[in-house]
Symmetry: C2
Subunit: 356 residues, 2 copies
Amino acid sequence: MSRSTRGDALLGASCPRPLDADRITLSHGAGAGASARLFEELLLPALDNPALASRHDGALLEPPELAGGRIAFTTDTFVVDPLVFPGGDIGSLAVHGTLNDLAMCGARPLALSCALVLEEGLPIERLRGLMASLGRAAHAAGVPIATGDTKVVERGKGDGLFVNTSGIGIVPAGREVGPARVRPGDAILVSGCVGRHGAAVLSVREGIAFESAIESDSAPLPDLVEALFAVGADVHCLRDPTRGGVGAVLHEIASAAGVEIELREASLPVDAAVASACELLGLDPLFLACEGRLLAFVPESESDAALASLRAHSLGRDAERIGRVSVGRPRVVVETRIGARRLLPFPAGDPLPRIC
Amino acid sequence: MSRSTRGDALLGASCPRPLDADRITLSHGAGAGASARLFEELLLPALDNPALASRHDGALLEPPELAGGRIAFTTDTFVVDPLVFPGGDIGSLAVHGTLNDLAMCGARPLALSCALVLEEGLPIERLRGLMASLGRAAHAAGVPIATGDTKVVERGKGDGLFVNTSGIGIVPAGREVGPARVRPGDAILVSGCVGRHGAAVLSVREGIAFESAIESDSAPLPDLVEALFAVGADVHCLRDPTRGGVGAVLHEIASAAGVEIELREASLPVDAAVASACELLGLDPLFLACEGRLLAFVPESESDAALASLRAHSLGRDAERIGRVSVGRPRVVVETRIGARRLLPFPAGDPLPRIC
């Protein structure tokens, strides 16, 4: 499969097909469509248990020894290509990505792990730079890299560096955040311009220079989440739109919560540079990955206060209300700029392999 | 570097050399020598924090929200080649390896994560079989795979399947297990015959058939550890001798605790088939990986009771007392079968790449 898969792959099928390939393809890693089928039809049956079946960004555990507390637990392997991109690298991304998964559980991060798969021949100085970046990102977020592992594979059996970060955090008593709490009447907020991470990685990979350089939005979201809870908002669900972007997340939530989601296209904040890049490449910013944005589902009555608290934070200045949840079939309906309504397709193909 | 590196690499240097290569080599992943230097000279400075500096198999965390409890947190990526070997596969190994790291912290496992890096072209049925094995191993140990992640890389950028499992567990109040507690007078116990995992993987990789097939000892150790604590033993330290085998672990403990370790070669339990294989391949079973064995450091006065409790468990039938800790320079002294004393070399080269 070409690396420069264009946006038309997104328009393939409007709902998931069965897992009909006999070999793994790049689309099984794209975070939507074939990925979802791989999870549903192969991984979930093999690894079945209630925590995994909840389909959250992380698991919530309540050990009897720790009365009252809940532990959030999440994992992510980063295989981003290239290792360095405008606005970040695999080191900072590996920290932000996993911290953000914890934050999306409503958790305050406690510690991260860091497990490396190095390819024979990787320059030591390159590794040193990437690990320094990873260390700085963890330090800036105030979360220790508490444990780690290093493996080396032969030349041609890896790709420079893969980084797994897993994370644990504590969910304060009273916070219940997850797709199961999404209900008709909820407003949907996004914390900033979407698609910058995907566009930044793609611009390097395709060797495209835009008038203004697009930097990844990669950033740690735990503080922004705390700001949301600090105003007392009854946050029903949080999700960071990484692989598959806002589009994939809305499909997942509609399906998991059994609700219809209405999205106002005109309200979706998109940088001018990202919009130009998308036009040039035939991509839809709705399906481009973010690594420093969140979607928040809150009751309509609390949405003004929640939006204000996001906008008061440096990572949420461009926050917008982009849609709402309503009664209906599990699907995503887009109100276009000219007022028409269309169904958002479920991304079946592989928009952008190895974006994170 | 040849895959069939022979044992003479083990005799290279008797102490770590500086990180003098400018590129990653396979020996940086071998779990001793160059691996240790990579950790000391590059990773630890980049990721510095007290938890990581403790050099345990996992981190112990004490969040203020959870008064009294301690959380153990560990991570391991499995890149074993081949994916299936006598006595196990990458699925069961990924479960046992991480459960065992938790057990070595004195923790009762609470949950595992599972993050996959799939290579494009991997047959789906092969993945299904390996995931079924992983799921069975987790189920047999009574520990859920609570969260996961799947990434796909292009053909030639991976090697079929890499599996990261991270794990969290709870350390019951009163258990203090770690290298810092090892002291002169401690007896050193091993729970069974050593080197079977390394020999099993190597026999497949080198295409060698032995008279009796060597099966990996891969097994989950949390129950065996509970059996040790159940007799009230004041266990000072636990360690599973994986990469680098018993030899590498003894060097690590001697260095971390600042003690001399005396090992009686004649007491080390080794299967006849493993001994033959080692003779044929010029390897030392002391440096071959185990995946279902533990080393326990206990006060001499409690060693009989501890040994009996190990032997009463199906995974500890062949347990032996193999040495003791004494006052002296941090080093490992071997009392050979003929009664001579020699220093155990620090494995500098790469005994067996991709053994786990």
